[in-house]
Amino acid sequence: MSTEVLIEVQDLHKSFGVGKIHALNGISTSIRRGEVVCIIGPSGSGKSTFLRCLNLLEKPTSGKIIFEGNDLTDAKVNLNLHRQRMGMVFQQFNLFPNMTIMKNLTCAPMTLKKLSKADAEARALELLRRVGLADRASSYPYQLSGGQKQRVAIVRALCMQPDVMLFDEPTSALDPEMVGEVLDVMKELAAAGMTMAVVTHEMGFAREVASRVLFLDEGKIAASGTPDEIFNHPENERLKSFLAKVL
């Protein structure tokens, strides 16, 4: 892990409606290159909103997201360009059902990075092989199981060669027996040095893979530290009661 800060979050606020629901209440943190940050917390604590603010799928009410030196909340910034370097994986996979797996993986690199079809397909096939799905290249998403879909979704993001990967509860929509295969891919990715921000309910994964764990409660970072500090020596009362429920 280097000391280079990849994403800096400054005093992030997000409210939905006209000041009605305060999802985020002033979050400041930074994610360094190579770090795996797991974000845990009770439902409604703002975990997903926080993650979706990082690539501005959710527009912050106030505060700054500085990604590789550019303030993404600045209206003059070309967001599309920066999003190309932030891969995102969704709870519901969101593969494009009208395209084959190969087309899912190559359409963005070909359209946005002007890669030739051959280059894009070679890259996609290599990544598919690494997640064990090379034989499904010509299938359509509906022909795949949930776990396979999510592995493809991870590959789709990787095909753009992002600097950071954002995971929004990537295993929450999966049948239990498929959680492992997706987590394995994520572990491999972490081991390869990918910078990752992961919203998850998989405490085992957070404990094993995270370099830092953020515990969100009521739109604030209520506790933050290494997995050992968070899981083995929790000090925050809310964190203690949360862990008592999920572990």
């Binding site: 690539n55 799928l57 527009k59 209206a75 599309n80 360009l81 999003r83 190309q84 932030m86 891969g87 995102m88 969704f90 519901q92 969101n94 593969l95 494009f96 059902p97 009208n98 395209m99 359409c107 963005a108 359209t111 946005l112 359509y140 998403p141 509906y142 789709r156 993001a157 753009m160």
Partner: protein
């Protein structure tokens, strides 16, 4: 009885080569319908894109010239939809022929434009419904990978929306085909008018009108079959 029908048929269509009214009329009907459908689909795509992108983006747009223009454009689209959907197509046809395009004698062109503009309003709402029916996650996936708004629409949303709206679009086509029967109002010799002219010449109503009705029916049945085939092919990537 069959002998009687045969006599009627020969009298109405063969004598004086009156079948030509039917054949030529059918040609006009098909021409107006297809051209109007093309025009209507083009209008529908543009207006639906403006309407739905305005609805999706209005909160994110910064105040300024672009936002004002966008708002104005959206207002114009709404005006168009209101007027076209709020008045009978026959009245639009008459206004088109006697007021708007009064200098044109090309009735096929006038009818095509009027029916195209008319059906554009209905196709707009069909396509807009289709765009809104695509899961929001698809849009987010497209944007998060780095596509801009238009790329996301073109590569991800529209292809899925098209599949969803195909039955309604086919319905609109069938409605359009039958609606063109009123273009006799501006003196255009379409299928219906052709049959009616024969009735006027022979003073026999049954044969020409029933044949005209059967031809419309046959066209609609054939077209429905074709759409069915297309739908099955598109469903290959169904989840």
């Amino acid at each position: 009885m069959f002998e009687k029908l045969r006599e009627e048929f020969v009298f109405n269509f063969i004598e004086g080569a009156r079948w030509k009214y039917i054949v030529n009329g059918l040609g006009v009907t098909l021409k107006v319908t297809f051209l109007a459908l093309l025009l209507g689909t083009a209008i529908g795509l543009v207006v639906a894109s403006i309407r739905s992108s305005y609805d999706q983006n209005k909160e994110d747009l910064r105040p300024g010239l672009w936002k004002t223009l966008f708002k104005l454009l959206n207002g114009l689209c709404n005006l168009y939809l209101t007027i076209i959907r709020g008045t009978p197509v026959v009245v639009q046809l008459l206004i088109g022929y006697f007021i708007v395009f009064v200098s044109s004698n090309d009735t096929v062109l006038v009818a095509t434009l009027v029916f195209g503009i008319n059906s554009g309003a209905y196709i707009t709402e069909i396509i807009r419904g289709g765009i809104m029916s695509v899961d929001k996650g698809q849009f987010e996936a497209g944007r998060s990978i780095g596509f801009n708004y238009l790329q996301t629409m073109r590569l991800v949303i529209i292809p899925q929306a098209f599949k969803n709206v195909l039955p309604s679009l086919a319905n609109e086509f069938i409605a359009l085909l039958k609606e063109t029967a009123v273009c006799g109002y501006i003196g255009l010799m379409d299928l219906t008018k052709g049959g009616d002219v024969i009735r006027g010449r022979t003073f026999s109503a049954f044969m020409p009108l029933i044949v005209v009705a059967l031809i419309y029916l046959l066209l609609v049945i054939i077209f429905s079959k074709l759409v069915g085939i297309l739908e099955r092919r598109l469903r290959r990537s169904e989840h």
